[in-house]
């Protein structure tokens, strides 16, 4: 579960719950996610997207792959009419999450809100796929 954070009142907040404790999943597990959107303050929403993706993070160019993607445009199924969402998807065998020093592989659930005003808001919630030990730290900081 994501921790509530202090933000201006007009900034949406998305509380997301993973079915697995500690956000730890294994390849071929079924990922089940529930989320709640707060703080839209009645602002009209044009579309809502939720997705599951992996990306690389480090000093090199970013790579990214989308595993699951759903876009909701039905006004009766998104805020302000409905402020909760849920989905399930089977996870693939790879790439596994990895915490390297120069590059990391991350999996996340991303919820994106497109407001009628044109602005949009993205919330990412990281989870781990697999259990690869993190890389060793260099011995000195330089």
């Amino acid at each position: 579960m994501s921790e509530p954070q202090d933000r201006p009142a007009t900034t949406p907040r998305i509380e997301l719950h993973f079915d697995q404790p500690h956000r730890q999943h294994q390849p071929r597990d079924v990922l089940a996610v529930r989320y709640r959107i707060e703080g839209c303050d009645g602002e009209a929403v044009r579309a809502l997207e939720h997705s599951v993706l992996w990306y690389t993070e480090g000093k090199g160019e970013e790579d990214l792959g989308v595993h699951f993607f759903q876009r909701i445009t039905d006004r009766t199924a998104m805020p302000p009419a409905v402020t909760t969402g849920a989905f399930t998807t089977p996870l693939p065998q790879s790439p596994l999450s990895y915490e390297g020093f120069i590059v990391k592989v991350r999996w996340c659930v991303r919820v994106r809100i497109f407001f009628a005003s044109g602005r949009d808001f993205v919330s990412e919630h990281v989870f781990a796929l697999g259990r690869i030990p993190p890389a060793r730290n260099p011995t000195t900081e330089n």
Partner: protein
């Protein structure tokens, strides 16, 4: 295994398109003013500056603004003279009024640059490039670096309030700038390493096995909160590449 936090100095957060272009004093550059100047220059100009001075970041923003203005635009990034072929193709495909943006213009030889500029004039399309030198092009803006600029970039990175003063200090920013001789890209890479080393030392993730699962204690907390439910205003560059 725990999911440690993101490194705010990774290219994910610092690459062109992810940070706001700033001037040497650390103030946001006005894309509207620059585009007006580009029109005055006839639609062809160069963003000039040394390595790691924010040329590509500015080009990315200007390209985005041009696209938002409804103009047709093609973006290219050259890595060597061998990439000249796609540049030619882009200019030959470009129609009147469209704009071709080329990053690292100097990768092409003098003759190729001259011919390409002539072709762009012939096609009546704009040509906006980044280069270390003006190289015969009108200069749209000269990008310069400063410690104030690096400080402003660092202050704009995600989770700044969580890690500044604990994992990264003002002295780290200053020493990175000095050691990298004003190259902002390399300075950010150095800060990436520093952040990573200190965060992992704090996390206890030194390769001795899986880190613990708690994610809410001690030094970990600030970093974990940063990654856990990380949110940001949307931007075109954040669109999923489907």
């Amino acid at each position: 295994m725990a999911v440690p936090g993101s490194n705010p100095f990774s290219t994910r957060f610092t690459q062109p398109g992810r940070i706001t272009p700033l001037d040497a004093a650390g103030r946001p550059l006005d894309a509207g003013v620059l585009l007006a100047r580009l029109r005055i220059l006839g639609g062809t100009a160069a963003v000039v500056g040394p390595h790691g001075s924010g040329k590509s970041t500015l080009l990315s923003r200007l390209a985005h603004e041009i696209e938002c203005g409804g103009e047709r635009l093609q973006r290219l990034r050259l890595r060597s003279w061998r990439d000249a072929a796609p540049s030619w193709s882009a200019i030959l495909r470009a129609g009147p009024g469209s704009v071709v943006c080329i990053d690292s213009w100097e990768c092409m030889g003098i003759a190729a640059r001259s011919l390409m500029r002539t072709a762009a004039i012939g096609r009546r399309c704009g040509l906006l490039v980044t280069s270390h030198k003006a190289a015969g092009m009108p200069v749209l803006v000269q990008c310069d670096t400063s410690l104030a600029l690096l400080r402003s970039i660092v202050a704009s990175l995600p989770g700044h309030d969580h890690w500044y003063g604990t994992l990264i200090h003002a002295a780290d920013v200053e020493s990175a700038y000095v050691r990298q001789r004003g190259n902002l890209r390399e300075s950010l890479y150095e800060l990436y390493d520093r952040f990573e080393f200190r965060a992992r030392r704090g996390l206890g993730a030194c390769g001795s096995g899986p880190a613990d699962d708690d994610g809410s204690v001690g030094e970990r907390r600030g970093i974990h909160e940063f990654a856990d439910g990380f949110s940001y205003p949307g931007a075109p560059e954040h669109n999923l590449r489907l």
